[in-house]
Assembly symmetry: C2
Homo-oligomer: 299 residues x 2
Protein backbone atom coordinates (compact mmCIF):
# COMPACT_ATOMS: atom_id res chain seq x y z
CA UNK A 1 0.00 0.00 0.00
CA UNK A 2 1.11 3.58 -0.53
CA UNK A 3 2.33 6.07 2.00
CA UNK A 4 2.28 9.85 2.29
CA UNK A 5 4.67 11.91 4.41
CA UNK A 6 4.23 15.58 5.27
CA UNK A 7 7.30 17.28 6.67
CA UNK A 8 10.31 19.48 6.18
CA UNK A 9 12.83 19.63 3.38
CA UNK A 10 16.01 21.41 4.32
CA UNK A 11 19.56 22.27 3.45
CA UNK A 12 21.73 21.36 6.44
CA UNK A 13 25.18 22.47 7.47
CA UNK A 14 26.43 19.92 9.93
CA UNK A 15 29.65 19.45 11.89
CA UNK A 16 30.47 16.15 13.61
CA UNK A 17 33.73 14.64 14.87
CA UNK A 18 33.92 12.98 11.42
CA UNK A 19 33.84 16.21 9.39
CA UNK A 20 31.57 18.88 8.03
CA UNK A 21 29.07 19.45 5.19
CA UNK A 22 27.45 22.68 4.03
CA UNK A 23 23.99 23.06 2.53
CA UNK A 24 23.59 19.32 2.24
CA UNK A 25 20.18 17.81 1.63
CA UNK A 26 18.21 17.22 4.82
CA UNK A 27 14.77 17.57 6.37
CA UNK A 28 12.40 15.09 7.99
CA UNK A 29 10.32 14.42 4.86
CA UNK A 30 13.46 13.84 2.81
CA UNK A 31 15.02 11.24 5.11
CA UNK A 32 11.62 9.66 5.74
CA UNK A 33 10.69 9.31 2.07
CA UNK A 34 14.10 8.00 1.00
CA UNK A 35 13.97 5.41 3.80
CA UNK A 36 10.37 4.32 3.23
CA UNK A 37 10.86 4.14 -0.55
CA UNK A 38 13.00 1.05 0.12
CA UNK A 39 9.73 -0.73 0.92
CA UNK A 40 6.81 0.96 -0.80
CA UNK A 41 5.49 3.79 -2.98
CA UNK A 42 5.80 7.14 -1.18
CA UNK A 43 4.30 10.59 -1.79
CA UNK A 44 6.21 13.47 -0.26
CA UNK A 45 4.45 16.70 0.77
CA UNK A 46 6.71 19.65 1.50
CA UNK A 47 8.01 23.02 0.42
CA UNK A 48 11.33 24.20 -0.95
CA UNK A 49 12.59 27.56 -2.16
CA UNK A 50 13.69 28.53 -5.62
CA UNK A 51 17.29 27.86 -4.67
CA UNK A 52 16.60 24.16 -4.14
CA UNK A 53 18.93 22.16 -6.41
CA UNK A 54 17.11 20.19 -9.11
CA UNK A 55 19.47 17.24 -8.53
CA UNK A 56 17.82 16.66 -5.14
CA UNK A 57 14.37 16.44 -6.72
CA UNK A 58 15.81 14.12 -9.36
CA UNK A 59 17.18 11.86 -6.64
CA UNK A 60 13.73 11.52 -5.06
CA UNK A 61 12.10 10.86 -8.42
CA UNK A 62 14.77 8.31 -9.34
CA UNK A 63 13.86 6.47 -6.17
CA UNK A 64 10.25 6.31 -7.36
CA UNK A 65 9.04 8.93 -4.86
CA UNK A 66 5.99 10.90 -5.99
CA UNK A 67 6.86 14.61 -5.79
CA UNK A 68 3.62 16.11 -7.12
CA UNK A 69 3.01 17.75 -3.71
CA UNK A 70 6.46 19.24 -3.48
CA UNK A 71 5.77 22.98 -3.60
CA UNK A 72 8.35 25.45 -4.86
CA UNK A 73 7.72 28.77 -3.11
CA UNK A 74 9.19 32.22 -3.58
CA UNK A 75 12.20 32.54 -1.34
CA UNK A 76 14.90 30.30 0.06
CA UNK A 77 14.79 26.73 1.31
CA UNK A 78 14.70 25.99 5.06
CA UNK A 79 18.28 25.95 6.39
CA UNK A 80 19.60 24.38 9.57
CA UNK A 81 23.11 24.58 11.00
CA UNK A 82 24.13 22.30 13.83
CA UNK A 83 26.86 20.18 15.36
CA UNK A 84 27.36 17.04 17.39
CA UNK A 85 30.06 15.90 19.72
CA UNK A 86 30.55 13.39 22.51
CA UNK A 87 28.18 10.44 22.13
CA UNK A 88 26.32 12.34 19.34
CA UNK A 89 22.99 11.70 21.03
CA UNK A 90 21.87 15.31 20.63
CA UNK A 91 22.55 18.05 18.12
CA UNK A 92 23.46 21.56 19.12
CA UNK A 93 21.61 24.01 16.88
CA UNK A 94 23.68 27.02 15.80
CA UNK A 95 21.27 28.56 13.32
CA UNK A 96 17.78 27.98 11.95
CA UNK A 97 16.44 29.88 8.95
CA UNK A 98 12.89 28.73 8.34
CA UNK A 99 12.60 30.74 5.10
CA UNK A 100 9.77 29.29 2.95
CA UNK A 101 9.08 26.66 5.64
CA UNK A 102 7.76 29.43 7.94
CA UNK A 103 4.69 29.78 5.73
CA UNK A 104 4.33 26.09 4.91
CA UNK A 105 0.70 25.20 4.30
CA UNK A 106 0.60 21.56 3.27
CA UNK A 107 -1.35 21.15 0.02
CA UNK A 108 -2.23 17.53 -0.31
CA UNK A 109 -3.39 16.27 -3.68
CA UNK A 110 -6.23 13.82 -3.96
CA UNK A 111 -3.74 11.08 -4.81
CA UNK A 112 -1.64 11.73 -1.70
CA UNK A 113 -4.74 11.99 0.50
CA UNK A 114 -5.95 8.65 -0.83
CA UNK A 115 -2.95 6.72 0.47
CA UNK A 116 -3.73 4.26 3.25
CA UNK A 117 -0.66 5.13 5.30
CA UNK A 118 -0.07 8.70 6.42
CA UNK A 119 2.90 10.05 8.35
CA UNK A 120 2.96 13.50 9.91
CA UNK A 121 6.63 14.30 10.38
CA UNK A 122 7.63 16.98 12.83
CA UNK A 123 5.88 20.25 11.87
CA UNK A 124 3.68 22.56 13.95
CA UNK A 125 0.95 20.44 15.59
CA UNK A 126 -1.79 22.71 14.21
CA UNK A 127 -0.59 21.92 10.69
CA UNK A 128 -0.43 18.24 11.59
CA UNK A 129 -4.08 18.38 12.72
CA UNK A 130 -5.07 20.08 9.49
CA UNK A 131 -3.49 17.23 7.55
CA UNK A 132 -4.98 14.60 9.83
CA UNK A 133 -8.48 15.92 9.17
CA UNK A 134 -7.96 15.33 5.46
CA UNK A 135 -6.88 11.71 5.88
CA UNK A 136 -9.46 10.35 8.29
CA UNK A 137 -10.09 7.36 6.04
CA UNK A 138 -6.46 6.18 6.34
CA UNK A 139 -5.66 2.71 7.57
CA UNK A 140 -2.80 4.05 9.68
CA UNK A 141 -1.92 7.58 10.77
CA UNK A 142 1.31 8.20 12.65
CA UNK A 143 2.82 11.41 13.96
CA UNK A 144 6.21 12.62 15.12
CA UNK A 145 6.70 15.72 17.28
CA UNK A 146 9.47 17.56 19.09
CA UNK A 147 10.31 19.03 22.49
CA UNK A 148 9.54 22.57 21.24
CA UNK A 149 5.86 21.73 20.57
CA UNK A 150 5.44 19.72 23.77
CA UNK A 151 6.75 22.76 25.60
CA UNK A 152 5.02 25.59 23.73
CA UNK A 153 1.89 23.93 22.31
CA UNK A 154 1.00 21.21 24.82
CA UNK A 155 -2.76 21.53 24.21
CA UNK A 156 -2.34 21.22 20.44
CA UNK A 157 -0.15 18.16 20.90
CA UNK A 158 -2.66 16.57 23.27
CA UNK A 159 -5.56 17.28 20.91
CA UNK A 160 -3.60 15.65 18.10
CA UNK A 161 -2.85 12.61 20.25
CA UNK A 162 -6.59 12.02 20.62
CA UNK A 163 -6.97 11.73 16.85
CA UNK A 164 -3.84 9.97 15.63
CA UNK A 165 -3.34 6.19 15.70
CA UNK A 166 0.36 6.14 16.47
CA UNK A 167 3.20 8.35 17.65
CA UNK A 168 6.93 8.07 17.30
CA UNK A 169 9.03 10.32 19.53
CA UNK A 170 12.36 10.24 21.31
CA UNK A 171 12.99 9.28 24.91
CA UNK A 172 13.44 12.86 26.12
CA UNK A 173 10.17 13.89 24.48
CA UNK A 174 8.33 10.90 25.96
CA UNK A 175 9.53 11.86 29.44
CA UNK A 176 8.57 15.50 28.86
CA UNK A 177 5.13 14.62 27.54
CA UNK A 178 4.25 12.29 30.40
CA UNK A 179 6.33 13.57 33.32
CA UNK A 180 7.47 9.97 33.78
CA UNK A 181 11.13 8.85 33.77
CA UNK A 182 10.51 5.12 33.35
CA UNK A 183 10.07 4.74 29.58
CA UNK A 184 7.99 1.58 29.95
CA UNK A 185 5.47 3.53 31.99
CA UNK A 186 5.85 6.68 29.86
CA UNK A 187 4.91 4.62 26.79
CA UNK A 188 1.79 3.32 28.53
CA UNK A 189 0.85 6.83 29.65
CA UNK A 190 1.10 8.04 26.06
CA UNK A 191 -1.42 5.39 25.02
CA UNK A 192 -3.77 6.70 27.71
CA UNK A 193 -3.60 10.04 25.88
CA UNK A 194 -5.15 8.56 22.75
CA UNK A 195 -2.98 6.65 20.29
CA UNK A 196 -2.99 2.86 20.02
CA UNK A 197 0.74 2.64 19.36
CA UNK A 198 3.75 4.47 20.81
CA UNK A 199 7.29 4.01 19.55
CA UNK A 200 10.01 5.63 21.65
CA UNK A 201 13.31 6.22 19.85
CA UNK A 202 16.39 5.94 22.06
CA UNK A 203 19.24 6.58 19.61
CA UNK A 204 22.18 4.30 20.39
CA UNK A 205 19.89 2.39 22.77
CA UNK A 206 17.33 1.33 20.17
CA UNK A 207 13.58 1.71 20.63
CA UNK A 208 10.70 0.82 22.93
CA UNK A 209 7.41 -0.28 21.35
CA UNK A 210 4.12 -0.10 23.24
CA UNK A 211 0.81 -1.48 21.93
CA UNK A 212 -2.06 -3.66 23.18
CA UNK A 213 -0.70 -3.78 26.73
CA UNK A 214 2.61 -5.16 25.47
CA UNK A 215 6.01 -3.47 25.75
CA UNK A 216 9.12 -4.44 23.83
CA UNK A 217 12.66 -3.06 23.96
CA UNK A 218 14.69 -3.53 20.80
CA UNK A 219 18.38 -2.57 20.95
CA UNK A 220 20.32 -0.59 18.39
CA UNK A 221 22.33 -2.34 15.72
CA UNK A 222 25.96 -1.83 16.88
CA UNK A 223 27.41 0.94 14.75
CA UNK A 224 31.19 1.24 14.51
CA UNK A 225 31.16 4.01 11.99
CA UNK A 226 28.87 6.79 13.24
CA UNK A 227 29.52 9.74 10.93
CA UNK A 228 26.39 11.89 11.24
CA UNK A 229 23.17 11.04 13.12
CA UNK A 230 21.17 13.82 11.40
CA UNK A 231 18.02 12.26 9.95
CA UNK A 232 18.43 8.97 11.81
CA UNK A 233 15.09 9.38 13.59
CA UNK A 234 13.27 10.25 10.36
CA UNK A 235 14.94 7.36 8.55
CA UNK A 236 13.89 5.09 11.41
CA UNK A 237 10.28 6.27 11.08
CA UNK A 238 10.47 5.90 7.29
CA UNK A 239 11.76 2.35 7.54
CA UNK A 240 9.07 1.49 10.09
CA UNK A 241 6.16 3.01 8.14
CA UNK A 242 7.48 1.76 4.80
CA UNK A 243 7.60 -1.77 6.16
CA UNK A 244 4.08 -1.51 7.60
CA UNK A 245 2.69 -0.07 4.35
CA UNK A 246 4.34 -2.81 2.29
CA UNK A 247 2.83 -5.55 4.47
CA UNK A 248 -0.53 -3.97 5.18
CA UNK A 249 -1.18 -5.80 8.44
CA UNK A 250 -1.17 -3.74 11.62
CA UNK A 251 -0.74 -5.56 14.90
CA UNK A 252 1.83 -5.81 17.66
CA UNK A 253 3.98 -8.35 15.83
CA UNK A 254 4.05 -6.42 12.57
CA UNK A 255 4.81 -3.19 14.44
CA UNK A 256 7.72 -4.89 16.19
CA UNK A 257 9.07 -6.17 12.88
CA UNK A 258 8.56 -2.71 11.41
CA UNK A 259 10.55 -1.11 14.24
CA UNK A 260 13.37 -3.60 13.66
CA UNK A 261 13.42 -2.54 10.00
CA UNK A 262 13.45 1.11 11.07
CA UNK A 263 16.41 0.50 13.38
CA UNK A 264 18.36 -1.14 10.58
CA UNK A 265 17.51 1.47 7.93
CA UNK A 266 18.58 4.29 10.26
CA UNK A 267 22.08 2.81 10.58
CA UNK A 268 22.74 3.49 6.89
CA UNK A 269 21.83 7.14 7.36
CA UNK A 270 24.29 7.43 10.25
CA UNK A 271 27.20 6.02 8.26
CA UNK A 272 27.61 9.14 6.11
CA UNK A 273 26.63 12.80 6.01
CA UNK A 274 23.25 13.84 4.63
CA UNK A 275 21.72 11.14 2.41
CA UNK A 276 25.06 10.05 1.00
CA UNK A 277 24.78 6.50 2.28
CA UNK A 278 20.99 6.10 2.37
CA UNK A 279 20.66 7.01 -1.32
CA UNK A 280 23.01 4.14 -2.21
CA UNK A 281 21.21 1.71 0.07
CA UNK A 282 19.07 -1.00 -1.53
CA UNK A 283 16.40 -3.32 -0.18
CA UNK A 284 19.02 -6.09 -0.36
CA UNK A 285 21.39 -4.14 1.90
CA UNK A 286 18.57 -3.73 4.40
CA UNK A 287 17.68 -7.43 4.33
CA UNK A 288 21.30 -8.40 4.80
CA UNK A 289 21.78 -6.16 7.82
CA UNK A 290 18.41 -7.19 9.22
CA UNK A 291 19.53 -10.82 9.12
CA UNK A 292 22.65 -9.86 11.11
CA UNK A 293 20.44 -7.98 13.56
CA UNK A 294 18.14 -10.98 13.99
CA UNK A 295 21.13 -13.22 14.47
CA UNK A 296 22.47 -10.85 17.12
CA UNK A 297 19.18 -11.20 19.04
CA UNK A 298 18.96 -14.97 18.85
CA UNK A 299 20.52 -17.09 21.58
Amino acid sequence: MSLTVVGSIALDSVTTPAGRVENALGGSATFFSMASSLFTKVHVVGVVGQDFPQEHVDMLVDRGIDTRDLQVADGETFRWTGSYDGDMSMAETHDTQLNVFAEFDPQISEASRANDFQFLANIHPALQRGVLQQVQHAKLTFMDTMNLWIDTEPEEVKALLKEVMGIVLNDMEAKMLTGEDNLVIAGQKILEMGPEMAVIKKGEHGATVVMDGQVVNLPAYPLHNLVDPTGAGDSFAGGMMGYLASHGEINFDSLKRAVAHGIVVATFTCEAFSLDRLRETTAEHVEERLAEYQNMLAF
Copy 2:
Protein backbone atom coordinates in the same frame (compact mmCIF):
# COMPACT_ATOMS: atom_id res chain seq x y z
CA MET B 1 31.59 -25.91 37.69
CA SER B 2 31.98 -23.86 40.85
CA LEU B 3 32.44 -20.16 41.20
CA THR B 4 34.09 -17.86 43.71
CA VAL B 5 33.24 -14.20 44.24
CA VAL B 6 35.32 -11.73 46.23
CA GLY B 7 33.56 -8.48 47.10
CA SER B 8 31.72 -6.39 49.61
CA ILE B 9 29.00 -7.26 52.07
CA ALA B 10 27.10 -4.27 53.35
CA LEU B 11 24.14 -2.93 55.23
CA ASP B 12 22.41 -0.40 53.00
CA SER B 13 20.00 2.40 53.78
CA VAL B 14 18.29 3.28 50.55
CA THR B 15 15.61 5.75 49.52
CA THR B 16 13.84 5.50 46.16
CA PRO B 17 10.55 6.91 44.87
CA ALA B 18 9.03 3.59 46.02
CA GLY B 19 10.05 3.90 49.66
CA ARG B 20 12.92 3.45 52.06
CA VAL B 21 14.84 0.70 53.87
CA GLU B 22 17.40 0.97 56.66
CA ASN B 23 20.36 -1.32 57.27
CA ALA B 24 19.09 -3.79 54.70
CA LEU B 25 21.38 -6.49 53.37
CA GLY B 26 23.50 -5.33 50.42
CA GLY B 27 26.99 -5.44 48.95
CA SER B 28 28.38 -6.64 45.65
CA ALA B 29 29.36 -10.12 46.84
CA THR B 30 25.93 -10.63 48.42
CA PHE B 31 23.91 -9.77 45.31
CA PHE B 32 26.38 -11.62 43.10
CA SER B 33 26.37 -14.82 45.11
CA MET B 34 22.59 -14.91 45.54
CA ALA B 35 22.16 -14.39 41.78
CA SER B 36 24.79 -16.90 40.69
CA SER B 37 23.56 -19.51 43.15
CA LEU B 38 20.50 -19.85 40.91
CA PHE B 39 22.81 -21.63 38.45
CA THR B 40 25.78 -23.15 40.25
CA LYS B 41 27.72 -23.69 43.48
CA VAL B 42 29.19 -20.42 44.76
CA HIS B 43 31.83 -19.55 47.35
CA VAL B 44 31.63 -16.06 48.79
CA VAL B 45 34.72 -14.25 50.07
CA GLY B 46 34.07 -11.16 52.16
CA VAL B 47 34.13 -9.52 55.55
CA VAL B 48 31.40 -8.45 57.94
CA GLY B 49 31.44 -6.92 61.41
CA GLN B 50 30.25 -8.42 64.65
CA ASP B 51 26.93 -6.61 64.22
CA PHE B 52 26.09 -8.59 61.08
CA PRO B 53 22.77 -10.37 61.60
CA GLN B 54 23.04 -14.16 61.61
CA GLU B 55 19.82 -14.40 59.57
CA HIS B 56 21.70 -12.97 56.57
CA VAL B 57 24.36 -15.65 56.81
CA ASP B 58 21.62 -18.25 57.18
CA MET B 59 19.99 -16.99 53.97
CA LEU B 60 23.22 -17.46 52.03
CA VAL B 61 23.75 -20.93 53.49
CA ASP B 62 20.13 -21.90 52.77
CA ARG B 63 20.79 -21.00 49.16
CA GLY B 64 23.69 -23.46 49.12
CA ILE B 65 26.34 -20.72 49.13
CA ASP B 66 29.65 -21.70 50.70
CA THR B 67 30.48 -19.14 53.41
CA ARG B 68 33.71 -20.62 54.75
CA ASP B 69 35.58 -17.50 53.54
CA LEU B 70 33.20 -15.06 55.14
CA GLN B 71 35.35 -13.36 57.77
CA VAL B 72 33.83 -11.82 60.87
CA ALA B 73 36.09 -8.98 61.97
CA ASP B 74 36.15 -6.78 65.04
CA GLY B 75 34.02 -3.74 64.38
CA GLU B 76 30.96 -2.85 62.36
CA THR B 77 29.82 -3.98 58.93
CA PHE B 78 30.31 -1.72 55.89
CA ARG B 79 27.37 0.69 55.67
CA TRP B 80 26.15 2.66 52.67
CA THR B 81 23.39 5.26 52.54
CA GLY B 82 22.08 6.45 49.20
CA SER B 83 19.06 7.51 47.21
CA TYR B 84 17.70 7.42 43.68
CA ASP B 85 15.27 9.60 41.82
CA GLY B 86 14.35 10.41 38.24
CA ASP B 87 15.15 7.51 35.92
CA MET B 88 17.06 5.80 38.78
CA SER B 89 20.07 5.28 36.54
CA MET B 90 22.47 6.53 39.20
CA ALA B 91 22.52 6.53 42.99
CA GLU B 92 23.38 9.56 45.02
CA THR B 93 25.61 8.56 47.91
CA HIS B 94 24.83 10.29 51.20
CA ASP B 95 27.13 8.40 53.51
CA THR B 96 29.72 5.62 53.34
CA GLN B 97 31.14 3.96 56.44
CA LEU B 98 33.70 1.41 55.33
CA ASN B 99 34.17 0.06 58.87
CA VAL B 100 35.66 -3.47 58.71
CA PHE B 101 35.71 -3.29 54.90
CA ALA B 102 38.46 -0.64 55.10
CA GLU B 103 40.92 -3.32 56.24
CA PHE B 104 39.54 -6.11 54.07
CA ASP B 105 42.29 -8.54 53.13
CA PRO B 106 40.65 -11.36 51.18
CA GLN B 107 41.60 -14.74 52.67
CA ILE B 108 40.81 -17.36 50.10
CA SER B 109 40.68 -20.95 51.23
CA GLU B 110 42.12 -23.69 49.09
CA ALA B 111 38.61 -24.80 48.17
CA SER B 112 37.61 -21.32 46.97
CA ARG B 113 40.86 -20.88 45.06
CA ALA B 114 40.32 -24.20 43.32
CA ASN B 115 37.10 -23.09 41.65
CA ASP B 116 37.30 -22.77 37.87
CA PHE B 117 35.33 -19.53 37.74
CA GLN B 118 36.50 -16.48 39.67
CA PHE B 119 34.79 -13.12 39.95
CA LEU B 120 36.47 -10.06 41.40
CA ALA B 121 33.64 -7.76 42.38
CA ASN B 122 34.35 -4.09 42.86
CA ILE B 123 37.05 -3.70 45.51
CA HIS B 124 40.38 -1.83 45.39
CA PRO B 125 42.25 -2.94 42.24
CA ALA B 126 45.36 -3.82 44.24
CA LEU B 127 43.28 -6.30 46.26
CA GLN B 128 41.79 -7.62 43.03
CA ARG B 129 45.31 -8.27 41.69
CA GLY B 130 46.27 -10.04 44.86
CA VAL B 131 43.32 -12.38 44.42
CA LEU B 132 43.98 -12.82 40.72
CA GLN B 133 47.53 -14.01 41.42
CA GLN B 134 46.08 -16.79 43.57
CA VAL B 135 43.72 -18.07 40.89
CA GLN B 136 45.90 -18.14 37.79
CA HIS B 137 44.78 -21.68 37.02
CA ALA B 138 41.12 -20.60 36.67
CA LYS B 139 39.21 -21.32 33.51
CA LEU B 140 37.62 -17.86 33.64
CA THR B 141 38.52 -14.75 35.62
CA PHE B 142 36.26 -11.71 35.44
CA MET B 143 36.51 -8.36 37.19
CA ASP B 144 34.23 -5.44 37.93
CA THR B 145 35.50 -1.98 38.81
CA MET B 146 34.15 1.52 39.47
CA ASN B 147 34.66 5.13 38.44
CA LEU B 148 36.58 5.86 41.67
CA TRP B 149 39.38 3.39 40.82
CA ILE B 150 39.52 4.40 37.15
CA ASP B 151 39.97 7.95 38.36
CA THR B 152 42.32 7.47 41.33
CA GLU B 153 44.14 4.22 40.46
CA PRO B 154 44.29 4.14 36.66
CA GLU B 155 47.65 2.32 36.56
CA GLU B 156 46.43 -0.37 38.95
CA VAL B 157 43.29 -0.85 36.85
CA LYS B 158 45.31 -1.08 33.64
CA ALA B 159 47.74 -3.57 35.15
CA LEU B 160 44.79 -5.69 36.24
CA LEU B 161 43.26 -5.53 32.77
CA LYS B 162 46.40 -7.13 31.36
CA GLU B 163 45.89 -10.17 33.60
CA VAL B 164 42.15 -10.72 33.74
CA MET B 165 40.15 -12.56 31.07
CA GLY B 166 36.97 -10.50 31.23
CA ILE B 167 35.61 -7.25 32.60
CA VAL B 168 32.10 -6.12 33.37
CA LEU B 169 31.60 -2.38 33.91
CA ASN B 170 28.96 0.24 33.30
CA ASP B 171 28.69 2.58 30.32
CA MET B 172 30.02 5.62 32.17
CA GLU B 173 33.02 3.64 33.39
CA ALA B 174 33.70 2.28 29.90
CA LYS B 175 33.72 5.82 28.50
CA MET B 176 35.97 7.01 31.33
CA LEU B 177 38.42 4.14 30.91
CA THR B 178 38.78 4.56 27.15
CA GLY B 179 38.00 8.24 26.53
CA GLU B 180 35.59 7.03 23.86
CA ASP B 181 31.87 7.94 23.75
CA ASN B 182 30.79 5.31 21.23
CA LEU B 183 30.30 2.21 23.38
CA VAL B 184 30.89 -0.15 20.46
CA ILE B 185 34.35 1.36 20.01
CA ALA B 186 34.90 1.73 23.77
CA GLY B 187 34.30 -2.00 24.14
CA GLN B 188 36.85 -2.79 21.47
CA LYS B 189 39.38 -0.43 23.05
CA ILE B 190 38.96 -2.24 26.36
CA LEU B 191 39.91 -5.51 24.67
CA GLU B 192 43.06 -3.81 23.36
CA MET B 193 43.94 -3.20 27.02
CA GLY B 194 44.10 -6.91 27.72
CA PRO B 195 40.91 -8.85 28.41
CA GLU B 196 39.28 -11.16 25.88
CA MET B 197 35.75 -10.19 26.89
CA ALA B 198 34.10 -6.90 27.82
CA VAL B 199 30.53 -6.60 29.01
CA ILE B 200 29.19 -3.05 29.30
CA LYS B 201 26.16 -2.65 31.56
CA LYS B 202 23.73 0.07 30.47
CA GLY B 203 20.99 -0.14 33.12
CA GLU B 204 17.59 0.38 31.52
CA HIS B 205 19.29 0.07 28.12
CA GLY B 206 20.61 -3.46 28.59
CA ALA B 207 24.19 -4.47 27.83
CA THR B 208 26.83 -4.52 25.12
CA VAL B 209 28.98 -7.63 24.74
CA VAL B 210 32.35 -7.52 22.97
CA MET B 211 34.46 -10.60 22.20
CA ASP B 212 36.35 -12.10 19.26
CA GLY B 213 35.79 -9.04 17.06
CA GLN B 214 32.02 -9.34 17.55
CA VAL B 215 29.74 -6.80 19.24
CA VAL B 216 26.20 -7.43 20.41
CA ASN B 217 23.67 -5.11 22.01
CA LEU B 218 21.06 -6.79 24.17
CA PRO B 219 18.21 -4.62 25.47
CA ALA B 220 16.83 -4.55 28.99
CA TYR B 221 13.79 -6.61 29.89
CA PRO B 222 11.00 -3.99 30.17
CA LEU B 223 10.46 -3.38 33.86
CA HIS B 224 7.18 -1.83 34.98
CA ASN B 225 7.89 -2.13 38.63
CA LEU B 226 11.30 -0.62 39.36
CA VAL B 227 11.50 -0.39 43.16
CA ASP B 228 15.24 -0.26 43.90
CA PRO B 229 18.10 -0.72 41.41
CA THR B 230 20.71 -1.26 44.17
CA GLY B 231 22.58 -4.46 43.41
CA ALA B 232 21.22 -4.79 39.87
CA GLY B 233 24.69 -4.66 38.32
CA ASP B 234 26.05 -7.25 40.77
CA SER B 235 23.02 -9.49 40.21
CA PHE B 236 23.55 -9.13 36.47
CA ALA B 237 27.19 -10.20 36.84
CA GLY B 238 26.14 -13.04 39.13
CA GLY B 239 23.56 -14.31 36.64
CA MET B 240 26.08 -14.06 33.83
CA MET B 241 28.92 -15.83 35.65
CA GLY B 242 26.59 -18.37 37.23
CA TYR B 243 25.27 -19.32 33.81
CA LEU B 244 28.79 -19.59 32.35
CA ALA B 245 30.00 -21.71 35.27
CA SER B 246 27.01 -24.03 35.00
CA HIS B 247 27.62 -24.60 31.29
CA GLY B 248 31.40 -24.63 31.31
CA GLU B 249 31.84 -23.55 27.69
CA ILE B 250 33.31 -20.10 27.06
CA ASN B 251 32.80 -18.59 23.64
CA PHE B 252 30.94 -15.67 22.12
CA ASP B 253 27.61 -17.50 21.92
CA SER B 254 27.72 -18.76 25.50
CA LEU B 255 28.76 -15.29 26.73
CA LYS B 256 25.79 -13.76 24.90
CA ARG B 257 23.42 -16.30 26.46
CA ALA B 258 25.04 -15.66 29.83
CA VAL B 259 24.49 -11.91 29.48
CA ALA B 260 20.84 -12.54 28.62
CA HIS B 261 20.53 -14.55 31.82
CA GLY B 262 22.23 -11.75 33.74
CA ILE B 263 19.79 -9.19 32.34
CA VAL B 264 16.83 -11.31 33.40
CA VAL B 265 18.16 -12.13 36.87
CA ALA B 266 18.83 -8.43 37.56
CA THR B 267 15.17 -7.58 36.96
CA PHE B 268 14.14 -9.58 40.03
CA THR B 269 16.58 -7.59 42.18
CA CYS B 270 15.06 -4.33 40.93
CA GLU B 271 11.52 -5.36 41.81
CA ALA B 272 12.03 -4.99 45.56
CA PHE B 273 14.40 -3.44 48.09
CA SER B 274 17.57 -5.23 49.10
CA LEU B 275 17.39 -8.97 48.32
CA ASP B 276 13.70 -9.21 49.14
CA ARG B 277 12.72 -10.39 45.66
CA LEU B 278 15.93 -12.11 44.58
CA ARG B 279 15.89 -14.40 47.64
CA GLU B 280 12.43 -15.66 46.61
CA THR B 281 13.46 -16.13 43.00
CA THR B 282 13.93 -19.66 41.70
CA ALA B 283 15.60 -21.09 38.60
CA GLU B 284 12.07 -21.65 37.23
CA HIS B 285 11.23 -17.96 37.60
CA VAL B 286 14.38 -17.11 35.68
CA GLU B 287 13.63 -19.58 32.89
CA GLU B 288 10.07 -18.28 32.58
CA ARG B 289 11.18 -14.66 32.27
CA LEU B 290 14.01 -15.62 29.95
CA ALA B 291 11.49 -17.23 27.62
CA GLU B 292 9.51 -13.98 27.59
CA TYR B 293 12.72 -12.08 26.89
CA GLN B 294 13.59 -14.39 23.99
CA ASN B 295 10.10 -14.05 22.63
CA MET B 296 10.42 -10.26 22.82
CA LEU B 297 13.56 -10.44 20.66
CA ALA B 298 12.14 -12.77 18.03
CA PHE B 299 10.41 -11.33 14.99
